[in-house]
Amino acid sequence: MRCFGRQCRGHGHVFVKLVRQTEQKLLALGEPITALGQHAQQLLAQATALSDATRERFAEAFTAAMRSHAHIRQQSTRLIHGQKLRHCKLVNAYDLTIAPILKGKSNCPTQFGRKPGIMSDPATGFLFAIRVPEGNPSDPSYVLPLLDNVQKAIERVTTPQRPRVHSMAGDLGINDTALRQALHARGILTVGIPKTVAPLTPNPSPEEVLDILNEAGLNRQRTPHQVHLACACGYSRPVVESHIASLLSRGAGQVRYKGHPGAVVQLGMTAMAHNGAVVVRIRQQRLSKRAQKFRRLLGLRHRKINEINNPKN
């Protein structure tokens, strides 16, 4: 019996002997798969009677079968020959549908699952884009794909004045020089991304504003007013937590659908349901004072259309 992880966080035992017995059968059964798969693919190439779609489907099935066996063999090698596994790396040796999450709790049930990224409006919590990657990539790798999705949404807007992204905020995890440069190249300020654990300045002086603009090389693209707003809505953990809590309350805490496509659908639908609720709150003016002020500064004031159309006098 081998133990993975710390004893104090629950039993993480895997019965190696039992796994060995099971996998020996699987390996014996799947041993001729590689040879058979290759032979079948050769025959498939010669079969002219089949349509292209059918041939493609068969080829995919053969490749998947061969890949599956290779996966079992690889994991088996790791398990049997006593090669030490990485901490929190493996809970079910042969399940392809789960992805490891090394961050979060240490050796607790959340160690396997997904790590979705969200891009939201700090004032209201409206989600502009969501991304569910495979595995556990680095945090900076989320930013540009999410930003591309936001850009696609902006391109769909048909009003004469198209909105633009002025600034981006994130935690220390996305403090990456290359990423900052890529964002500056797109005309986006990065004042909301901290460089150290020191708190961000909410009210920068005129000199600091000038420094920020010079550093980003956006003197002619962004105004001091926009810099002030960007500083005001810099990364704030409670704000982001409230957005995440809303998603968790709609069932985003547990991935129940199968595999990566399932996780994408579940979290996407959750995000859309959350956005619907956010729009209801905005229409009913149920926003925090801070959010209301921020919306006013962005020119998103609530217009009382009915009162304008039906004046009292």
Partner: protein, 184 residues
């Protein structure tokens, strides 16, 4: 005689069409929530994607359940925290859910136990891919931006972990559970 005529639609299986909007007040939370979505654009995007990826091979067969209903059910499922079965049952009995699904007329048919089967909902879900999901979120965001409700000027980005909801049963986990049960 009057009484029998009054109950005719319950006894006979069909009757007058009921207006769903009459039963769901304007301030009902589900109605307000449902009115925020740009349904036409969303359903059109889904239709386009499905037509490309799953072309119809034959014009025969029963008419499918409208995509609008299935899509709304899937969203409602997450909004209300219901299971597939729960939400399909509620569609049969709850006027607010019918409103959210775009059903405006309702004709009573006691013999019909359900409108949509949970299996149909599952089948619909399995056809949605990542590209389509991104497009749907983009459409919703674009509609909100056009209405002047939100602005993407200042954005915040973060990640959060989601645990695996269900794990497959393996020999190792079964034995582990059995051992644990025996020891306790």
């Amino acid at each position: 005689m009057h009484f029998v005529r009054y109950l005719q639609h319950w006894l006979g299986g069909t009757g007058a069409h009921l207006q769903v909007t009459d039963f769901v007040p304007v301030m009902h939370p589900i109605r307000q929530w449902a009115d925020t979505f740009p349904w036409a654009a969303l359903v059109s995007a889904i239709e386009q994607s499905f037509d490309q990826r799953f072309p119809k091979k034959s014009p025969r067969g029963r008419r499918p359940v409208p995509l609008r209903v299935l899509f709304a059910l899937e969203l409602l499922k997450h909004e209300l925290g219901a299971s597939d079965e729960d939400i399909c049952h509620r569609l049969r009995t709850d006027f607010a859910v019918m409103y959210a699904c775009g059903l405006r007329d309702y004709q009573v048919n006691p013999s019909q136990a359900h409108f949509v089967l949970p299996e149909t909902l599952c089948e619909f879900r399995s056809r949605i891919d990542e590209t389509l999901m991104d497009e749907l979120i983009a459409l919703q965001a674009a509609a909100a931006m056009e209405a002047g409700l939100v602005s993407p000027a200042h954005l915040v980005i973060d990640t959060f972990p989601c645990e695996q909801g269900s794990q497959r049963v393996t020999d190792a986990t079964t034995l582990y559970k059995a051992q644990k049960k025996r020891s306790s």
